[in-house]
């Protein structure tokens, strides 16, 4: 709380400018997430020799869903309605505090690595509860699988970012990014490279991409994420879709800025923020393209192999932290 107040107090670019930057970040993530998904779909399609849907398809689908009625399954409780809201809200708060287009978003002091990771976790848990709420076999199955994976991927995410925190002597994300910006040589340090690999594994798991989950499958029994949201329709589904896309945008933006912070707006004016926005988009798009290309070249691993993959990511993250501590 003190840190938050301090951050608010130290309003060097002006509190309104910073609030504006945060709002821009939320908007960028909300609009950029679906575009990133569209881009990944397009890259996959092109690599497979197909034309594929346009990159804006995700946004069009959202517009379509927003016009539809939210039909809830029988016997559902308030959880079904709340889960999408919590998912979107947690994603929005995460996007507002994380250094995405500027290293000084509003309440920057509150953007601790734990806060952001737990915000993401909150969204996952809400969605899992939403999946359970209707009481169908598929929802339960999806939630159970998602939680199994989340139980390993969330700690790995935390520890991977912690490796950077050790290097930057701060667990505050804007400080980590600012320090990275000041020390470009850090990128080549072993703990950073290890943490980068670990983080990419986590991002793939958290966003339900191949080889962990297949976002385009129609096979109910293999689904993880899709199984949880089978009961959602209309505006509820639109919220879930936006929430999930924001999560993708946030995670990719985080990876981009933690490791490749160049271009991010610092304490400069609107121009710096604008440059930051373009840089964020370019970096996230580049990472999304790489992930999509990896997806094309691999298949979905057996469900019981997913924990092995994630455990590998976790081990890398732990090694990254240890390396960082030893290197100090």
């Amino acid at each position: 709380m003190t840190a938050t107040l301090a951050a608010l107090g130290a309003a060097s670019p002006g509190i309104w400018a910073r609030i504006g930057a945060s709002v821009l970040q939320v908007a960028a993530v909300a609009a950029g997430g679906p575009l990133l998904l569209g881009l990944m779909g397009k890259v996959r399609a092109r690599a497979e020799g197909r034309v594929g849907p346009p990159i804006t398809q995700g946004l069009r689908d959202l517009r379509k869903l927003m016009r539809k009625e939210a039909i809830r399954a029988e016997h559902t409780s308030a959880v079904s309605g709340l889960a999408p809201l919590v998912l979107v809200a947690s994603g929005a708060v995460g996007a507002a505090v994380t250094p995405l287009v500027t290293t000084r978003p509003a309440i920057a002091g509150g953007a601790d690595v734990f806060v952001v990771v737990y915000l993401l976790l909150m969204g996952s848990v809400a969605l899992a509860l939403g999946g359970l709420d209707a009481g169908t076999a598929f929802g339960g199955m999806g939630s159970s699988r998602a939680m199994t994976i989340g139980a390993i991927s969330e700690p790995a995410l935390l520890v991977a970012i912690l490796a950077l925190a050790v290097q930057a002597h701060s667990s505050n994300l804007p400080d980590i990014v600012a320090a990275s910006l000041a020390h470009p040589g850090w990128l080549a340090s072993p703990q950073r490279l290890l943490a980068l690999v670990a983080l990419v594994v986590v991002v793939i798991a958290e966003t339900g991409r191949i080889p962990v989950d297949n976002p385009s499958t129609h096979l109910e029994l293999t689904m993880i994420h899709e199984a949880m949201i089978l009961e959602y329709a209309g505006t509820d589904l639109a919220l879930v879709t936006v929430g999930e896309a924001m999560r993708l945008g946030l995670l990719l933006g985080l990876v981009a800025n933690l490791f490749f912070p160049w271009g991010i707006g610092g304490s400069g004016g609107p121009l710096a923020v604008l440059v930051g926005l373009v840089a964020l988009g370019a970096k996230a798009a580049a990472i999304a393209t790489l992930i999509a290309l990896v997806e094309v070249s691999t298949a979905k691993v057996r469900l019981f192999r997913v924990p092995e993959l994630l455990a590998g990511g976790f081990v890398l993250a732990v090694v990254a932290v240890t390396t960082g501590l030893v290197a100090r």
Partner: protein
């Protein structure tokens, strides 16, 4: 009408009317002599019900029919379930469609009959009449519950998330491991066999082409062979060669699609996309060869016509692309990990269940009707592709091997063809009974027809799926739930062909 027919079957086929009581003894003898029960057909002759048991073995091609006439007051047959698992399935079908009681059947649950059918309505009986109104409040199917700590049920279908045929699967699961899977089918029961009744033999072709949409050529050929067997038609060799080529084209197209679909089910989209492109190419080739992308219209009773033959260059090009596709899939370690050891069907289980086609050959059984019951000389190039593994990989490999073998076979057979339009002429308005056996892409199809003055009195269809579906449940033991779609796709059995 039957005595005449019984006296005059095709050379390799014998048919005799026996006493109901002798059935188990005679069936046991035949089964021990290496015959399999290929088909059981009920017949309503008006005054009495009759059941035909068709056993076959090969090579050399042997077909033995045992016929029993039933007591009109109490139609019953002694159950052969203890001798043959396929018999138990055929008997359940007889009980549902004809109301024939298989005495001594150990587990007589409904098979074709869905619970909303009115009681005592047997649609294949001559006096069944038009379809009566269905019951609205019906008892659910008596699934056997699996009990124990942590066991839960997952009901899936009959409506699925993807575009697949309707089938209900009831999984009993602990964690992610499948303890038991019961497939409840017959949601697309269209009464095909009934629709054959009364048709002129030539008109039966359009129906046979639609028994299972992806097996138009296979089912049509089985129907035509049965008709020709019944009417003693001497089909010209050229027609038989063209038919063989058309059926092999069907095998190639469907296997290619399956190779891609198996990759898609493990999320390896790039191989799927390539397979789809290749499949489209093959469909266009089929369109050019027969005038129909699904190979309809080329095969008719006593005749076969194509517009042109696939050229050697076309076949070689397809072969190269298929090799690339298989190489792409098998060189990917994740794909291989998913395929290997998944949904194991042991050779013993496959034999006991009576599995056919790709599934049987992937479990080490060299069953192939092209070898056992050839309708044309396939030449020395035909060797069944057999794998011992019994897992998804084995079924993938059998398909890959068969595509290559079929491409060679089409080229070889094409070299012997002298005419693209060969016909035995009018098949006439004769009478008789006959059987057609074809190794279609899924497995062995058997049709048995009885014809009276050029019109079909009865056509019994056995798609390999009917006999192979139970093998899927067996193969799923100890498989995990998320691997079910992959296992199911590796079997790729027909719902329509099974449900009829």
């Amino acid at each position: 009408m039957t005595p005449h027919r019984l006296a005059d079957p095709a050379p390799q086929r014998t048919s005799e009317l026996i006493a109901t009581g002798d059935l188990p003894t005679r069936a046991r003898e035949l089964l021990h002599a290496g015959f399999r029960l290929a088909l059981v057909a009920g017949h309503d002759d008006g005054h009495a019900l009759r059941v035909v048991y068709a056993f076959c073995a090969g090579p050399p091609d042997r077909r033995v029919e045992l016929q029993v006439r039933l007591d009109p007051a109490h139609p019953a047959v002694p159950s052969l379930a203890a001798l043959s698992f396929p018999a138990s399935r055929f008997e359940r079908e007889l009980a549902d469609l004809f109301g024939i009681e298989p005495v001594g059947h150990p587990f007589l649950r409904p098979l074709v009959r869905h619970q909303h059918w009115p009681p005592h309505w047997h649609p294949m009986r001559g006096d069944a009449g038009p379809t009566p109104p269905m019951l609205i409040d019906a008892e659910p199917f008596p699934f056997v519950p699996v009990e124990g700590p942590g066991v839960y049920e997952i009901p899936v279908g009959p409506v699925h998330a993807g575009l697949i045929e309707p089938g209900h699967f009831r999984f009993s699961v602990v964690g992610e491991t499948i303890l038991k899977m019961k497939a409840r089918l017959w949601f697309v029961h269209r009464g095909i066999e009934r629709l054959f009744e009364g048709r002129a033999v030539a008109d039966g072709v359009v129906l046979a082409e639609r028994i299972s949409g992806d097996t138009a050529a296979g089912h049509t050929l089985a129907y035509c062979l049965a008709v020709e067997d019944a009417l003693c038609v001497e089909t010209p060799t050229d027609a038989q060669l063209l038919r063989a080529i058309v059926v092999e084209l069907e095998r190639i197209t469907n296997h290619v699609a399956d190779l891609g679909a198996l990759c898609n089910d493990v999320g390896f989209g790039v191989a799927h996309a390539r397979a789809l492109t290749l499949r489209e190419r093959l469909l266009r080739l089929a369109g050019e060869v027969t005038g129909h992308r699904l190979l309809r219209g080329a095969i008719r009773p006593g005749a076969a016509t194509v517009r042109r033959l696939p050229t050697e260059a076309e076949l070689a090009e397809v072969g190269g692309l298929v090799d690339e596709l298989v190489e792409l899939a098998t060189s990917n370690t994740v794909v291989m990990d998913r395929f290997t050891g998944t949904a194991l069907l042991s050779s013993d289980d496959a034999r006991t269940i009576g599995a056919l086609g790709v599934v049987a050959r992937a479990s080490g059984l060299p069953v192939d009707a092209r070898v056992a019951h050839p309708f044309v000389d396939f030449g020395p190039g035909l060797v069944p592709i057999v794998e011992e593994g019994g897992d998804v990989l084995a079924r993938f490999s059998v398909r890959a091997g068969e595509v290559a073998a079929s491409l060679r076979l089409v080229a070889e057979l094409g070299g012997s063809v002298r005419s693209l339009d060969a016909s035995a002429g009018d098949v006439g308005r004769r009478s008789g009974s006959g059987m057609g056996i074809v190794e279609a892409w899924r497995g062995t199809i058997v049709h048995r027809v009885e014809i009276d003055a050029g019109h079909v009195v009865r056509c019994k269809v056995v798609d390999p799926s009917f006999l192979t579906w139970p093998a899927l449940s067996v193969a799923l033991a100890d498989t995990i739930v998320p691997d079910f779609p992959l296992a199911n796709k590796s079997f790729n059995l027909s719902y329509a062909g099974n449900d009829l």
